[in-house]
């Protein structure tokens, strides 16, 4: 089942410095499947966050269409968007917590918004369970205010909130950026497990290549193209998409450049030890790598 379909999306912004419209996304089409992690990558400024905001209905595209969980949400259909919003969770790049509410209330917020009939004690237990799921001890963190959390903790609370309503689909903007390797691995594992065990679909934007290869079922590389006889950008294009192996074996110059050393190395699916391509068992943990 296709959970996200994006067709021919274009978006321009007014560049106040150059005093003219600047194309950011040019005719972008992509899809994400149920039960898969789809990873979006691309250089800084290529329009990933813009695309993300269009996906979740927070930015209006100039043209194209978006459907989520088989409902068309753009061209704007408020009723569909409202309905679909209950079914997807969003993890923003910086957590985007409500600063005036403590951690527990932040996680309870979407539940109270959409399922106010649930008993307060039940919501409390749900909040605890979600916190444990992101490896935060409820007793220690529930009553803290967001301002007193570290970046990694804030992001994990954001993830717990994204999970609050048991979404069928989760959008992540940079889930592991700026986290220490251990926390980052915990989050990667959780993303992967949610998909594998519960069949949740995930769309992930990330800069971290090792994280991308650890979680992706499908990868999409976006690129900002430059027309040959013109100094202007003509927008971001989908440069290449495929399985992690497809991209690792790609001969396309930008993909090779973008993936850099990752074109020649592979990561153990179990312990993430990086080693030469096409190994059958991991040198470090000994785990066989074939599916």
């Amino acid at each position: 089942m296709t959970t996200v379909v994006l067709k021919n999306i274009s978006k321009s912004f007014f560049n106040s410095k150059l005093k003219k419209m600047e194309i950011v996304l040019n005719n972008i089409s992509l899809t994400a499947q149920h039960g898969e992690v789809t990873v979006l990558m691309g250089q800084s400024g290529c329009g990933k966050s813009t695309l993300f905001r269009i996906l979740i209905g927070e930015e209006i595209a100039d043209s194209g269409c978006v459907s989520i969980l088989e409902k068309e949400v753009f061209p704007l259909n408020k009723k569909n968007l409202q309905e679909v919003k209950k079914k997807f969770g969003i993890l923003f790049q910086y957590g985007a917590l409500f600063n005036s509410m403590n951690v527990g209330d932040n996680i309870a917020f979407p539940i109270l918004e959409h399922q106010p009939q649930l008993h307060r004690d039940i919501i409390d237990i749900m909040v605890d369970t979600k916190l444990r799921q992101v490896s935060l001890e409820p007793e220690k963190f529930k009553h803290k205010m967001p301002a007193t959390l570290s970046g990694g903790e804030r992001k994990r609370v954001g993830l717990a909130r994204a999970l609050a309503l048991d979404p069928q689909l989760i959008f992540y903007d940079e889930p592991s950026a700026g986290l220490d390797p251990i926390v980052s691995r915990t989050i990667d594992k959780l993303i992967k497990n949610l998909v594998k065990m519960l069949g949740i679909a995930s769309v992930v934007i990330t800069h971290e290549l090792d994280s991308a290869f650890a979680i992706a079922d499908r990868m999409i590389i976006l690129k900002r193209a430059v027309p040959e006889h013109n100094d202007d950008w003509d927008g971001t294009i989908v440069y290449e998409e495929g399985t992690p192996d497809d991209l690792r074996n790609s001969q396309k110059p930008y993909t090779v450049e973008f993936l850099g050393e990752f074109s020649n190395f592979e990561i153990c699916k179990n312990c993430r030890f990086v080693q030469q391509k096409q190994f059958t068992t991991c040198e470090k943990c000994g785990k066989p790598q074939s599916e």
Partner: protein, 133 residues
């Protein structure tokens, strides 16, 4: 909880409770005064978990020593359903009783496992196993 939520809850109690979702059927088998089997029929989600909570509440209030919740006919359980079971577990443990859960599908087991609750609950593959345990 903040004032916002309290207001919201009050408002909800006043206006929304009427259009709650259709009641879920829950079979209850009183094997003996010390043992009850509770079998929810259909999906346990945010709309229906309240009913399971009511049944469990009654059973734990009577301090039934062994409560078996069979999810064999449930099809699906979400985190509000799981929370309902956790609440019941706490109550049962408070009077040194036992809560046993019957799970016969991978789908439901995974919901417990991903929340690291597969070790918290006593899980059995069939109601018979749970009764005999």
């Amino acid at each position: 909880m903040s004032g916002y939520f309290k207001r919201k809850e009050k408002w909800h109690k006043k206006y929304l409770q009427k259009d709650a979702t259709l009641p879920m059927e829950i079979k209850v088998e009183e094997v003996s005064p010390q043992m009850s089997v509770i079998i929810p029929q259909g999906e346990i989600d945010m709309g229906s978990s309240g009913e399971l909570r009511d049944v469990l509440h009654k059973t734990t209030k009577n301090k039934v020593q062994t409560i078996i919740v069979s999810l064999e006919d449930a099809g699906h359980i979400d985190s509000s359903g799981i929370a309902t079971l956790i609440e019941a577990l706490k109550k049962v443990e408070a009077y040194s009783g036992e809560l046993r859960v019957v799970i016969n599908t991978k789908k439901i087991f995974n919901v417990f496992k991903i929340a690291n609750l597969d070790m918290v609950f006593k899980i059995y593959e069939s109601t018979q196993d749970a009764k005999n345990a």
